[in-house]
Amino acid sequence: MTSAQPLASPRINLTHRLTKTTSVVLLLLSSTLSHVYASTLGDIKEKGYVTCGVSQSLPGFSYIEKDGKWSGLDVDFCKALATGIFNDSAKVRYSPLSAKERFTALQSGEIDVLSRNTTWTASRDTSLGVHFAGVMYYDGQGFMVRKDLGVNSALELDGATLCTNTGTTTELNMSDYFRANNMQYKPVVFEKYDEVLAAYEAGRCDVLSTDQSGLFSQRIRLKDANAHKILPEIISKEPLGPAVRQGDDQWFNIVKWTLYALLEAEELNITKKSLMLKKLPTKPKERRFLGYDGNIGENLGLSNAWARQIIQTLGNYGEIYEKNIGKHSRLNIPRNHNNLWTQGGLHYAPPFR
């Protein structure tokens, strides 16, 4: 390479340009990269939509219809948030997440709220940097088997192969349950519900294990739903609820109280229909809740009419429940624990005052 020396000087040009660009980039970065933690609500208002992490396909909870629209219980909660903020339930952007991705997506700010049948646990609250805003659905893990196996109880499952989702509490509960009862099992874990279901249908495993709501929801997707049965045992507590990132109390409050608003409306017997009548409420409780008195909404950073807007567009918790997973749906899951406390269930909203 005799040409190396004479070429050296033009080559500096390259470095020169590189350094120039680098310094420009650096300057740009340092101007934007100050540790400013903007408020989530402010961000959302600026963007004009709520980014909501949902499940990939779980009929009744979050499911993408053929026309590309989302529906389900978890999806309706996202809509409730959007309605509270914008008075427009369409201002949501759904981000379908696998169980594996969900927390990182929330931590990283890719989504504003995680409404994806996620179990509230101590370790998730303390080490993942998330806050659970409450319980949307009280669930517990169960098992589904083929009827022709002749199994009547989960305690007969020694030696069975179980299909489930990866990165869920299900995986851990299963292991706890089988160890506690001195039983052997083989776990086959998939990323998506679809894959779990396909593997179960193909006979890769004897048992499908997930939250009971999930079992009901998956069963209707099987070719012959009646050939499968859900075992009576519930082996865990699975309070499923929406979660937000830590570090923004205002947003946490909004999510929490949106959930309570749905419950409170049912308790006060305020429905979509009753609001359509446009009769001004007279009871102080109702007046406060609907924003005619006091300023709960404004204190949250929203308008005082937020709760009214939500119920007007989506209905109260009971209505949402029955529409998506209850009586008016193919799933037909009885309410049981998911009734209000006044009806013998577990749902209880703190007072709106």
Partner: protein, 397 residues
């Protein structure tokens, strides 16, 4: 002279600035990261590796149960990845060479089937191969109750291939000791025989004793040793009994238990990886063989070598020089592609470590970092081994 020096100086100055720029960007990114992590209360550090995993893994080469740590899960995943990569490399190489040679065969059918195979398999994404083979493996296999079986020891069903394993019994230690000791004795004999041989050959050169005679002598000695060894074994089996018990799979209520099971996910993954990569290897082999000048084949023919001999001793060794570098690339690709295992629930590194463990701990940065590092090291290791092999084969020529 002065100009030259200033240009040199400037070159270094700009490089230094470049480095500072890069470090600056990295520092900014890391600073933001740490800020974000602290702000959101996400745990950092590698302490999680000691925590109890608490979930089961369907297939593991080392002992593993739910009470082991995340660190152990990491090794389970790593070994599973290496297993798939190793099996894939072996099978894809065999199939690839066969196909590559078939592609150049003068047999019309073989040539065209090989080229159709290559055209079909190279142009479809690996993920599709994977889904397809998983389905194709799982679908035709019967349920556990209707298992296909060979001699009530080998069972095949849609839960996998069940094979018997050996387990230690009371006699195992005696066997191990006796065999060990006799092997040591044989080794000692051989070493001393070798020494005598080498000293004998050196003396033979002066005293004209033929080499053949000495090697004959050592050969008969080796024969006696082998005979003795067999005698020891038979004696042991007569007086002590078999060294291992056979652990055959037995049907329980749902599945077989006992023995070892090769899960369908592993079979599908190895199938997909090797069938896909073989198509690439075939093309590499073809190009390598085509690059050997025709004169070489003709020379081999005129020397009276049969076509297969000329392929083995003349063509392939020369083609190998051109084949090895791209072949290395294919091995690297195969190893990296094995990370798709997650799509069909085979518990490899990405699936259980960057999947399940990541989810249970939420420490994305550490876990993805470790995973990437592992793949990088595997890649570097394969490159090193192949370049060593290449060097060795060059040196031999």
């Amino acid at each position: 002279m002065l100009i030259k020096q200033t240009t040199k100086l400037r070159a270094w100055l700009y490089q230094a600035l470049f480095i500072i720029g890069i470090i600056g960007i990295c520092w900014l990114l890391i600073d933001t990261l740490l800020g974000n992590l602290a702000h959101q209360g996400i745990v950092t550090g590698l302490d999680f590796l000691d925590n109890n995993a608490g979930f089961g893994v369907i297939f593991s080469l080392i002992d593993y149960n739910e009470s082991d740590s995340y660190g152990r899960v990491f090794f389970v995943g790593l070994l599973n990845t290496l297993l798939v990569a190793g099996l894939g490399i072996v099978f894809s190489t065999i199939l690839g060479f066969l196909l590559g040679i078939a592609r150049l065969s003068h047999n019309f059918l073989a040539r065209n089937i090989a080229s159709a195979y290559i055209g079909l398999f190279r142009n479809v994404p690996l993920l599709l191969h994977l889904f397809f083979w998983y389905f194709a493996v799982l679908q035709p296999l019967p349920g556990p109750k209707q298992s296909l079986h060979v001699a009530d020891a080998l069972f095949l069903n849609n839960r996998g291939l069940y094979i018997p394993t050996l387990i230690d019994n009371a006699n195992t230690t005696i066997w191990q000791y006796t065999i060990g000791i006799s092997l040591i004795i044989i080794m000692l004999f051989l070493i001393s025989a070798n020494k005598r041989k080498s000293s004998a050959t050196s003396s033979a050169k002066s005293s004209n004793i033929s080499d053949n005679k000495i090697s004959e002598k050592t050969n008969t000695k080796k024969g006696t040793l082998l005979l003795l060894f067999i005698c020891v074994c038979t004696l042991l089996s007569i007086f002590v009994g078999s060294p291992y018990d056979l652990n055959t799979p037995v049907f329980g209520r749902f599945n077989f238990s006992g023995g070892t099971v090769i899960i369908p996910e592993l079979i599908a993954l190895v199938l997909a990886l090797s069938l896909y990569t073989a198509a690439y290897i075939a093309e590499i082999v073809r190009a390598g063989i085509e690059s050997v000048p025709n004169g070489q084949k003709e020379a081999a023919n005129s020397l009276g070598l049969s076509p297969s001999d000329s392929l083995r001793f003349v063509i392939i060794p020369q083609a190998l020089r051109l084949i090895i570098p791209p072949l290395t690339n294919q091995y690297l690709n195969l190893t990296k592609n094995s990370s798709l295992a997650a799509a069909i629930a085979y518990p490899d590194l990405v699936s259980i470590f960057a999947g399940t463990v990541l989810n249970q701990t939420g420490q994305a940065v550490e876990i993805i970092g470790i995973t990437m590092l592992v793949y990088l090291s595997i890649s570097i290791a394969i490159s090193l081994i192949m370049s060593l092999y290449e060097k060795k084969s060059r040196w031999n020529q």
